[in-house]
Amino acid sequence: MYEFLAGPMFILSLCVFFVGLLVRAIWYVRGLHWQMDRVAYGMYPGPGMKGAARSIGYWLLPFGTYGWRAQPFMTVAFFLLHLGAVLIPLFLLGHTLVLKAATGIALPAMPARIADFLSWAAVIGIAMLALRRIALPEVRILTSAYDYFILLVTAAPFITGLVARYHAGDYAFWLSLHIFFGEALLILAPFTKLSHIVLFFMSRAQLGMDYGIKRGGINGKGMAW
């Protein structure tokens, strides 16, 4: 089972993930329309790029925007989850070994203590996000089963990974389950709201260009995100 999951299935998941997200990104750009969106994308590359970079950059900074500062609980939950969700898949020692074995690509591995911390942080972040969905009426009204499904798909690799890591229960079983959920996430990403892995950057860049090119970026200091 392990050989299959860590071998051909792993390669397939990576392909679906990368090709799928690339296609989403290409579709997004191809679907932009200067007149319908009312942004002269191609005419002002300088202000456009600057606007896009600012729009993405400030939102990647914890407490970097008015929005993050206004909602500290959400900010903490968001960054706890996303730090782990980006760094753990790439730089956890076991992951780098599997990646090297399957593809030959060697990434540096992070110390185990940091990996443990980030994994727990991500689980706590997901729990906080779920709590928000239940507790806050303004989030509850927006929430559907689909939103919990996405949280679950995100939580599953972390939880199973932690169980395996502490050898709580049958290690081989939990490891296989962990790989299964990790690959499920990779395969689902291009087809679900997880596509925000790339579309976050596209959408933020678009609004940044909108402000940078049309809505005042050329006039002054630029938007105070």
């Binding site: 002002y44 989030v139 927006l142 200091k221």
Partner: protein
């Protein structure tokens, strides 16, 4: 009854049709007919398939349902935090639902969508600043308004407003002749006080082409005189066009994109005809947004700019003060606590936040200026933007919407608020009346007239 005689899918094209709809006072018959107006579902879905591009599709699709937009919306905050006022909910339950159902929606749904689009969103675009994904729900509501207008589900006043632009190329029944005559008459009134004061009409290649808001012609003609006086005192080479002088666009509020295009083309036509160095527009927010920011795209200009460089009145004024074309008598500067209303349409949506503060530094004595909180691009809508001020059907909601600005103003402790935007000015006037708030409100021009130094060679002989 698929379509009514007053309420239907056909835009107002003629003066006769316009007058007939106006005679239906308050839109009584219009709204009655709307209850039976059929939804042309094929048209609705066809339009969506043609016009809903990846930006809007992605916004609808990737909304994480996180609710971070809730607190950004002043209408949510003043409705006792009613979850139905969360921006993401408002757009998902209207535009999102129409798309999910492939246009298969009924009359009752369209009524709900109309109320949401015009009474629960002023298209202030503030929520877009607070969404991690950069989802600008104001932009999406603008799009939804277009779909609703096409189906005939639009508030009575805005159907008329869009019709006015189609018939008169102005938001009111002000003809080109009315405009020129009113401007000339107002200037005559002040000739004695300002010798040599004129209004040059259709002058070729002037430095400045001045465009206005038809309300000024119809209801506030003093504003025209004040503009003329300030250009005169600044020694500007300026002109007004005999046609293409109207900068506003109720068609934009209505979602009538065809009328939007017709309107801005009339202004751009004046620019091309008279070849001025630049255009200066009056103290209006949405007029600037329509003609300078969005208009080029309606007119199909790939560079996204009007034919000549076009600036807001505050930009001209700041420049005139900066370069000394206009000089302020320091003794006459404002010496009461004063604040400024940042208009969504040219502060958040055109980056002029520092320009207005530069003006403040010239016209307010040190120590008297009070910032509103929040301010600049994070300021709240006045409460009457996006057409909200003018819709009788939603007057109670509009009056409630003024609470945010009332409380912001009271918190500054200011005795006066400067509002260089017609919509904001109206909303503040209404909130003063509605809530008996002890605060004065003003455009910039009348304040400037009182404090600007008249150069010796421009003074009347007997003074």
């Amino acid at each position: 009854m698929p379509e009514g005689t007053f309420c239907n899918r056909t835009p107002i094209q003629t003066e006769k049709a316009l007058k007939r709809l106006l005679e239906d006072t308050g839109g009584k018959a219009y709204y009655q007919e709307m209850k039976a107006l059929e939804v042309d579902r094929d048209l609705l879905w066809g339009t969506i398939q043609k016009t809903l591009k990846s930006r809007l599709r992605t916004w609808l699709g990737i909304c994480a349902h996180c609710g971070m937009c809730a607190d950004s919306c002043f209408l949510y905050r003043i409705s006792k935090r009613n979850p139905r006022q969360v921006p993401a909910y408002k757009i998902q339950s209207t535009l999102g639902e129409i798309v999910r159902r492939k246009g298969n929606v009924d009359n009752a749904f369209m009524h709900m969508a109309m109320e949401t689009a015009w009474a629960k969103c002023t298209c202030c675009n503030r929520c877009g600043l607070y969404c991690p994904h950069g989802i600008d729900m104001g932009v999406m509501f603008g799009y939804l308004r277009g779909l609703l207008y096409q189906q005939g589900f639009v508030p009575w006043e805005l159907k008329i407003g869009a019709g006015m632009h189609r018939v008169y190329r102005a938001q009111m029944d002000v003809t080109d002749k009315d405009f020129v005559e009113t401007f000339e008459w107002m200037v005559e009134e002040y000739e004695e006080d300002y010798p040599g004061l004129t209004v040059p009409v259709d002058k070729q290649e002037a430095d400045i082409l001045y465009t206005v808001n038809a309300r000024e012609v119809k209801h506030y003609p003093e504003d025209l005189a004040e503009a003329a006086i300030l250009f005169h005192l600044a020694g500007e080479d300026w002109t007004v066009p005999s046609s293409g002088w109207e900068q506003t666009s109720l068609a934009m509020f209505a979602g009538d994109w065809e009328a939007c295009k017709l309107q801005v083309q009339s202004v751009y036509g004046a620019m091309e005809r008279l070849k001025p160095k630049r255009m200066v527009g009056t103290e209006c927010g949405h007029a600037h947004r329509a003609t300078v920011v969005e208009g080029p795209y309606w007119a199909g200009r790939p560079d996204g700019r009007p034919p000549v460089r076009s600036i807001h009145y505050v930009e001209w004024l700041a420049e005139a003060l900066r370069t000394g074309k206009l000089r302020i008598d320091p003794e006459k500067r404002i010496r009461v606590p004063v604040t400024i209303q940042d208009s969504c349409n040219y502060i958040r949506n055109h980056g002029l936040k520092e320009i207005t503060r530069e003006i403040i530094s010239h016209i307010v004595a040190p120590g008297y200026f009070r910032e509103m909180s929040p301010n600049r691009e994070h300021n709240y809508c006045c409460g009457g933007g996006g057409g909200f001020n003018g819709i009788g059907l939603y007057r109670p909601q509009r009056n409630q919407a003024l609470i945010t600005k009332r409380d912001q103003l009271l918190a500054t402790g200011a005795e006066m608020v400067i509002a260089p935007c017609h919509n904001c000015w109206d909303a503040i006037r209404d909130l003063v009346e509605e809530f008996h708030v002890p605060i004065k409100w003003s455009f910039l021009k009348p304040l400037l007239i009182k404090m600007v130094q008249v150069p010796e060679h421009l003074r009347p002989e007997n003074s």
